[in-house]
């Protein structure tokens, strides 16, 4: 009897999530009257603004990931190695972007880095792009930091560091050859999450007025019927693709989990 309820709940949950998706996908295929077609998708892919904004966001995502890795891996490593008592504090700081709305962050940025400030980043396109990248990195920080910190927990950071030092290695070598490769899986899952966040982000890109994918989706959604549905399916596919890749890399981990 209990089993039936469990199955019922599962089916209800699945329907709750999949029905809108199925409906949306169905709708996106119905641009041509009376038959299924990929017309809406073709339209979307053919739109130069799609290509432009998508490329822009992918590039932003890649730079954000690069910056995030360079920022987070050494920080998380150093905190674990030298400042273990500060870990809760650092963890709290990295969680702040979850509590502070993106709009507050971006207004803060605009105030701090406007054209009449000491560092007028918004004065040039490159500056604004960099600022947006910093913004994305902030949004992705909670995920990136947690992923890397969890990865570091699986290795004996202190002893491995000392072993490498006694063999003559300096900090750069230790980070690049020992620490990073051992948390690579964690870094990759952080990277895919970052990618998914950047591709879908709207607020920051819109307020900084950059041609990103998020604002494009919004624009399209406000003006068209079938294309937004196709776009949503595409965006959804990208996100799920990222999650799938996270699963995949975790499985391809070369070394076994360390013995406890």
């Amino acid at each position: 009897m209990k089993k039936i309820w469990a199955w019922g709940a599962l089916v209800f949950g699945l329907l709750y999530f999949t029905l809108p998706l199925i409906g949306m996908t169905n709708f996106s295929l119905k641009m041509r009257r009376g038959e299924y077609s990929f017309d809406a998708y073709q339209k979307v892919f053919a739109d130069p603004r799609f290509q432009e904004t998508f490329t822009y966001s992918v590039m932003q995502a890649l730079f954000t990931i690069l910056f995030g890795v360079l920022l987070v891996v050494p920080t998380a490593y150093w905190v674990r190695l030298k400042l273990p008592r500060l870990r809760p504090v650092i963890e709290f700081i990295t969680l702040l972007p979850l509590v502070i709305p993106a709009i507050v962050i971006v207004f803060g940025y605009i105030r701090l880095y406007n054209t009449s400030s000491w560092l007028p980043l918004t004065g040039s396109l490159t500056g604004t792009n960099i600022l947006l990248m910093f913004g994305y990195a902030t949004l992705a920080l909670p995920y990136m930091y947690r992923a890397v910190d969890t990865g570091l927990r699986t290795i004996d950071v202190a002893t491995l560091t000392e072993a490498a030092q006694s063999l003559g290695a300096g900090w750069a070598t230790i980070l690049a050859k020992i620490i990073l490769p051992n948390v690579l899986v964690a870094v990759l899952s952080g990277a895919f999450l970052t990618f998914a966040i950047v591709i879908g982000e709207f607020t920051m890109a819109a307020l900084l007025n950059r041609p990103a994918f998020g604002p494009y989706m919004q624009l399209l959604g406000a003006n068209r019927a079938y294309e937004p549905a196709a776009l949503a399916v595409i965006a959804f596919g990208i996100t799920w693709g990222c999650l799938g890749l996270i699963q995949l890399v975790s499985r391809f981990q070369k070394s076994a989990p360390p013995k406890a």
Partner: protein, 353 residues
Amino acid sequence: MSFLSLTSIKKSFGPVHVVHDFNMDIEKGEFVSFLGPSGCGKTTVLRMIAGFESPTSGKIVINGRDQNSLKPNQRNIGMVFQAYALFPNMNVHDNVAFGLKVAGTDKSETDARVKQMLGLIKLEHLADRFPYQLSGGQQQRVALARAIAVKPQVLLLDEPLSALDAKIRVSLREEIRQIQQQLGITTVFVTHDQEEALSISDRIVVMNAGRADQIGTPFEIYNTPSTRFVASFVGTLSIIEGKVADPAAGAVTIGNQQIALKDPIAGMKGGDSISLALRPEAGSIAEGAKGDTALAGEVVSTSFLGSVIRTRLRVGGDVISFDMFNNPGVAPPVSGDNVTLRFAAKDLLVIRE
């Protein structure tokens, strides 16, 4: 001047003094063990030599060069850890090659050296394995090969065998000793296992609460412990408490029995307490056993250790252990038996604090 010298080393962590005035000179190619109970500061001294901790005061000199200003990665010191600490992302070959690559050695020379090292530890066939595919003993041998591949000035081993099971512990310690002698590496080996220290060291430093209680060859440490701590920690010496009866005659009262020491007791007067020590192999209860001194006592327990039988005997207020060889023709004593232990007066050591 000695190769590695530690002079007046002190170390405190905040208000806690962990190492007090530690002095030690180690010759080139020597194998020295730090032996002592948990928490006595062995690891701390070792880490100061490696540069992972800096001494609160004192001087560390290796090969004429003051080390205090050098970072750990500038000291060229090989280190082997209790937890192996192999790099999990690298296979055996790359682990051993790591130090050579860091030093910028070219590839053919690195490969040759790695091969030579793996030959030394007899693991050439496992060069492609990752650490998690190796047993503990194999991992520790790789860690040893990795540490000596760079031809370190000094090799430091911090309880490298503690995580291994008893059989491998014995075979690996002999392997370590043999490789060390073959290459002539100056080595410091930390252990809290006295048998380990006695069996492989040129010299032993017995440490007690952050001090070196005694420094000497295994023979000296075992046979002539200079403090009560060394006597009780090294070997299985029995400590016997007595009272001086007549210092000039060397007479001592133990419980209600009186015995005579080999020499007069200097610096004590009648009625003073005195501690004596007896090694388990020095006494015998066999019929017609030799020995100019005898103590009667009651058997408390016997334990069968294979080739020897260890018997514990209550004499006065103390328990004395002694060993006898197993003899299938003679049944061991049972608890409650009254026996007489005979030994030579010269085997009875006077322990001074």
